[in-house]
Amino acid sequence: MDFFHTLILLLDSTVRLSVPLLLAALAGLYSERSGVFDIGLEGKMLAGAFAAGAAAAVTGSAWAGLGAAMLISIFLALVHGFASITHRGNQIVSGVAINFIAAGSTIILGQAWFRQGGRTPSLSAGGRFGAIELPFADAVRDVPILGEIYSELLSGHSLLVYAAFLLVPFTWWVLFRTRFGLRLRAVGENPAAVDTAGISVSWLRYRAVICTGILTGMAGSYLSLAQNAGFVKDMTAGRGFIALAALIFAKWKPVPVMFACLLFGFLDAFAIRVQGTPLPLIGQVPVQFMQALPYVLTVVLLAGFIGKAIPPRAGGVPYVKER
């Protein structure tokens, strides 16, 4: 029973840690499926986290924070679109630029506005997305196994956690069951065909990067409004890149993206759990090894040792209309 309880706690923190990855990876899914590579997920998420923390601190409302986060992330996504769709610039370079702009300006503006060393003020309960207790969570707590799964693992997360997991089937539905999704996927594979059909390639891709902006804004808000009570500088700490890794790992498909994010979240939770305690058979695992594991796994996957990850064919290539 003790082992089971530990397992539940481990899975519970897996869920919490995988949510920002999931939101960011789904964000990247829209953009990359439309043929716009985005390594600026990290920067957009960071800017979103800062905007959320700042707006929630000023207004005292978590919803205002979420709105501000989405706006700033959409703005950065549009900058990326402007560079890579309208001006046919290098998408990788543009993404790198956005990461730096976000990393620098969140610290500078945070210090200038709040003077707490780059933090935003600590949020009270109203400024955060608090835990939602599912119905009867308390009542069934004592039921063995199932009760514990329900009340510990499934209940008691913030709104954004449930939203993130609901977005997985929603994204699948949008991409594979709607006209918009069909066109979005087509424009990532063969933009010339979409253009020939009389549909604007640019406008489709712009809509895709706007979706990316909305979702990275949510990912950022989760970090500063749900997981923590305010923004701390560099709080994304590479999660945008792990999300990108998860996206590749999942071969640009929504449901596998969720499992990849859960896997990376589990590794993270496991690393925190076993820190300093020796494992049976292996002995003490250095914490740095556990931290590096998601990156190592991604490299191994990319090298094609665990199936082949094939990106959307037109990904990274600016579309030039034939004249």
Binding site: I39, V79, F82, A83, S84, H87, R88, G89, N90, Q91, I92, V93, S94, V96, A97, I98, N99, F100, I101, A102, A103, G104, S105, I107, I108, L109, Q111, A112, W113, G238, F241, L244, A245, I248, P286, Q288, F289, Q291, A292, Y295, V296, T298, V299, L302, A303, G304, P311, P318, V320, R323
Partner: protein
């Protein structure tokens, strides 16, 4: 990517466009300064004075520039092969391990001028080794070099923390760093060069690796534009198909270009590790690997552009430190924003002003546009 754009005269392409892009980047940075409630013009004056005002400051500016020349060259060599090596940060970090291993082994038995070439080799070999795996995977298994090199930055960070905490830290010490090198692990300072020019330098970390950086810049120029290997690198960068048709082994060229790139990034470590701190510390690279991206883009991947671009970023680093004293609202992180803006405007948006400029030049002097312009518009 330049296909849809007609050619501009060379002076506009290599002189005017980068200047316009840079000016716009600084204009936007000025807006950020205004946003935090400071006067951008006063900030610019303090920054330039802080970077160049006294001999001391110039020495610091050149010290920072040294690191950026190495990392800028590293990014540029890969660019010529149309590879985006974003892993300069990790390669420099691991390069520092090479420097430290050499210095720890020989600093008490050899003089610095014998340790130095060994340390250069150590830095280059370790940096190149860290670039080898992403290069091999790109060349042989088609995994995207951008993603793998980003991953290798994170892996390098974990590896180095592990090594510093568990292996390299001297017994009984708390700080995660190696012991301080003795005499043989210290590079001579170059402050006398500035003093010879009549500038006074109290103490600054400006050291011999600056000259090595200039030499590296010259050698990169020779390599890229004056050797067969450089030609093959540029050919594969310009058109992989043409390179394949001409019998250039793509696998070989990708790996060689990345090894050179990694070696250059690794050599950046000489400057802080052997030239200044004289020990290997956690996070000694402090973003220099990433600055290299901005430097290479601004310098248009040519050593003659990279050296001034690196000095400009050296000025921003040093001047930015002074600025942080005068204007507490503007910390060193302002540089990160400027770096991002330079990458955005000089890199991703490099074509933004091209059509306007093209129209302007064409209307002023149609002849300077030559035949290419008509072709570009008609084609």
């Amino acid at each position: 990517m330049s296909a849809p754009y007609a050619k501009l005269p060379a002076w506009a392409d290599y002189g005017l466009i980068p200047l316009i892009n840079l000016a716009v980047a600084f204009l936007v940075a000025g807006l950020v300064v205004m946003l935090v409630g400071e006067n951008p013009f006063r900030a610019a004056v303090i920054l330039v004075d802080g970077a160049l005002g006294r001999g001391q400051n110039i020495a610091y500016t050149l010290y920072y520039a040294t690191s950026f020349i190495f990392t800028g060259l590293a990014v540029a060599v890969a660019f010529h092969c149309s590879l985006f090596n974003i892993g300069g940060e990790g390669q420099a970090y691991v390069g520092g391990l090479g420097v430290a291993v050499v210095c720890l082994a020989f600093d008490s038995i050899l003089p610095w001028w014998l340790v130095f070439p060994l340390a250069v080799a150590g830095a280059a070999v370790f940096g190149a080794a860290w670039a080898f795996i992403p290069a091999y995977f790109q060349a042989k298994r088609g995994s995207h070099i951008v993603i793998t090199t980003i991953m290798f930055n994170f892996i390098a960070a974990s590896l180095m923390v592990y090594l510093l905490v568990n292996v390299l830290k001297p017994a009984g010490s708390q700080a995660p760093q190696t012991r301080t090198f003795v005499e043989g692990g210290h590079l001579p300072k170059l402050n006398w060069m500035l003093e010879a020019l009549g500038l006074s330098v109290r103490s600054a970390p400006f050291n011999l690796s600056f000259l090595l950086a200039l030499l590296a810049a010259f050698l990169v120029w020779v390599l890229i534009w004056r050797t067969r290997l450089g030609y093959e690198i540029r050919m594969r960068g310009f058109s992989p198909k043409a390179a394949r048709y001409a019998g250039v082994s793509e696998t070989k060229i990708i790996i060689i270009a990345m090894l050179i790139s990694g070696a250059l990034a690794g050599m950046m470590a000489l400057n802080p590790v052997m030239g200044d701190q004289n020990r290997l510390q956690i996070d000694f690279v402090t973003g220099a690997g990433f600055v290299g991206i901005a430097v290479a883009l601004m310098g248009r991947s040519h050593p003659a552009g990279i050296v001034p671009a690196a000095i400009l970023f050296g000025m921003l680093y040093q001047g930015g430190a002074e600025l942080a004293f005068e204007m507490p609202n503007i910390s060193r992180d302002m540089i990160v924003i400027i770096q991002g803006l330079v990458i955005l405007f000089a890199g991703a948006l490099e074509h933004m002003f091209r059509p306007t400029l093209q129209a302007a030049i064409a209307s002023l002097s149609p002849r300077s546009m030559g035949a290419e312009a008509r072709q570009g518009e008609g084609g």
